[in-house]
């Protein structure tokens, strides 16, 4: 029975001890310990989250880079294609132009040749006419003398005419 009866002295001392320990630790130990543990847990959680985020960002950046690269490649191909097309076009255009120029020159030359030819023919005709008149003049003068001599003379004249 004595076992079950609390003694006043121990009651008071235990109460005192508990209160002192409680307030001492509540003021000086528990906040620091609890805060320390929580901070560490938060730091670890944050670090893990950051690592995950960085990883995701890296992956995103990589995919972005790849996309950019692909785009660049496409653009290069496009540019090359365009350049080729431009080149072909320029060459074709140049060819066309050259052809038209050449045709133009040829046409002009032909026109010029024709004009020259016509001029030359006209001159020849005029010369011939003149010669005919000259010859006719001479023939007419000789006819007055000897018929044979006239003919020989004409013949000699004709022979003497050198067409060019």
């Amino acid at each position: 029975m004595e076992l079950l009866l609390p003694k006043l002295g121990l009651l008071i001392w235990t109460l005192l001890a508990f209160l002192i320990v409680f307030f001492l630790l509540k003021k000086m130990a528990w906040p620091a310990i609890i805060k320390g543990l929580r901070d560490r847990e938060n730091t670890i959680a944050d670090s893990l989250a950051t690592a995950q985020k960085v990883k995701e960002e890296m992956a995103q950046m990589k995919s972005e880079n790849e996309a950019l690269l692909a785009k660049a490649r496409e653009e290069r191909a496009l540019m090359l294609k365009e350049a080729r097309e431009t080149k072909d076009r320029i060459i074709n255009e140049a060819k066309e132009q050259a052809k038209t120029e050449a045709n133009k020159i040829v046409t002009e030359a032909q026109v010029a040749i024709n004009a020259q030819k016509m001029a030359a023919l006209t001159e020849v005709k005029n010369q011939v006419g003149k010669l005919v008149i000259e010859v006719s003049e001479k023939v007419l003068r000789r006819e007055l003398g000897n018929k044979d001599a006239q003919e020989a003379h004409i013949k000699g004249l004709v022979d003497g005419v050198k067409l060019n």
Binding site: E2, L3, L4, L5, P6, K7, L8, G9, L10, L11, I12, W13, T14, L15, A17, F18, V21, F22, L24, L25, K26, M28, A29, W30, P31, A32, I33, I34, K35, G36, L37, D39, R40, T43
Partner: protein, 387 residues
């Protein structure tokens, strides 16, 4: 510097204490025998008519509080601090009583012997009680004595708690300086950190929800307060602090106060007007519910007390078995000792488990009761959050 010296001093005192206790601990199976023999013979000398080992007396002497520490058949006196309305305060060492043979400042300590000598009623007067006596050496019933002595339970509790507070303050200092926050914990920090996180994550958080931080310092203090005293109580020869009803009563009382301050309208509503219960049943239910308010902390008190005292009694009984057999026949005593020691070691290991378990159970149940006290509010908030 002063702190350092104080620390060294405390460590020295503690070391001496543990050395004194642990030497009989390791040698208890052999040297302890002789000590007990002496004790047994001493008891035999006094009650010559019985000439028998009074096991009950030995058990209660070990389990109950006392004004001196016993080891190696010697005793270490402790300070006595008394108050009576007539005589005021008086303090002296317990050795001044000369084991109940002398009167000091008009006070006398009762022992088994002088209770018998003075012809007092052993049911009314118990050993280790300090009484006021008149000039003729008779007990003066008019003088009421309040005993605030530093008994062995008090001294051991103070020692245990001093050690505990020093450890905790050191750990706190480490956390403040960043060890264990930005780096890995070291030394005693690593030892106690899992225990602290266990109390936080397994006891406080599941039972108290979002309010756990408010109660965590209290729960941690209760847990370690019980644990350190349980562990110190396991040192052979030490006092049985946690197995004393006064100790557990204080803790239970504090739990009760904390629970009461945590209650809300919802809690009292459930007790005095249980919803959905017919009126007739309410007449039965309400008193039962109301009683449960007090039974809960009372159960805490009895549970811790009974568990700790039972463990100590079993160990003493098993050791005493050797001497009981030894009284019948010395050979029987020797024969019983291996069996007895085997069982003692087994129970001792169980007691180590119980030391942790009871600290955990007390804290856990306190947390559960606090959680129940403001449970309704939590539900309401949860509902409010849902809507």
């Amino acid at each position: 510097m002063v702190v350092q010296r104080f620390k060294s001093f405390t460590v020295a005192v503690f070391s001496i204490f543990s050395l004194l206790f642990s030497v009989p601990a390791t040698a208890q199976h052999h040297e302890g025998d002789t000590a007990h023999h002496q004790a047994g013979q001493g008891a035999g000398d006094h009650d010559a008519k019985k000439d028998k080992l009074n096991v009950g007396e030995v058990i209660f002497e070990h389990v109950l509080d006392g004004h001196e520490f016993h080891f190696f058949g010697k005793s270490l006196p402790l300070p006595v601090l008394l108050y009576s309305p007539q005589k005021g305060f008086s303090s002296f060492m317990s050795s001044d009583f000369h084991h109940g043979h002398a009167v000091k400042n008009g006070y006398k300590i009762l022992t088994h012997e002088n209770i018998a000598e003075m012809g007092l009623d052993p049911k009314k007067f118990k050993p280790e009680t300090i009484v006021a006596v008149d000039g003729a050496g008779k007990i003066d019933p008019s003088v009421k004595v309040y005993d605030f002595s530093l008994t062995r339970n008090v001294v051991q509790m103070i020692l245990a708690l001093t050690l505990f507070v020093i450890i905790m303050l050191r750990i706190a200092k480490r956390y403040k300086s960043g060890v264990g926050v930005t780096s890995a914990p070291k030394g005693s920090q690593s030892l106690l950190e899992p225990v602290i996180t266990f109390v936080r994550d397994e006891v406080a958080k599941p039972n108290l929800g979002h309010k756990y931080e408010k109660y965590l310092p209290y729960l941690l203090t209760v847990f370690f307060f019980i644990l350190i005293n349980n562990i110190f109580g396991l040192i052979p020869g030490s006092a049985n602090v946690t197995g004393n009803i006064a100790f557990t009563a204080v803790l239970g009382l504090i739990s009760f106060i904390v629970i009461m301050f945590s209650t809300n309208k919802h809690y009292w509503g459930h007790i005095f007007n249980p919803p959905g219960v017919p009126l007739g049943v309410k007449f039965i239910l309400v008193p039962v519910e109301f009683l449960s308010v007090f039974i809960k902390p009372f159960a805490l008190i009895i549970r811790l007390f009974a568990n700790m005292v039972a463990g100590h009694i079993i160990i003493i009984c098993l050791i005493s078995l050797i001497f009981i057999f030894g009284q019948l026949n010395p050979i029987a005593g020797w024969g019983a000792s291996p069996l007895s020691i085997g069982f003692t070691v087994f129970i001792y290991l169980i007691e180590v488990l119980v030391a942790f378990l009871q600290a955990f159970i007390f804290t856990m149940l306190t947390a559960v009761f606090i959680g129940q006290a403001f449970e309704g509010e939590h539900h309401d908030e949860a509902h409010a959050a849902h809507h």
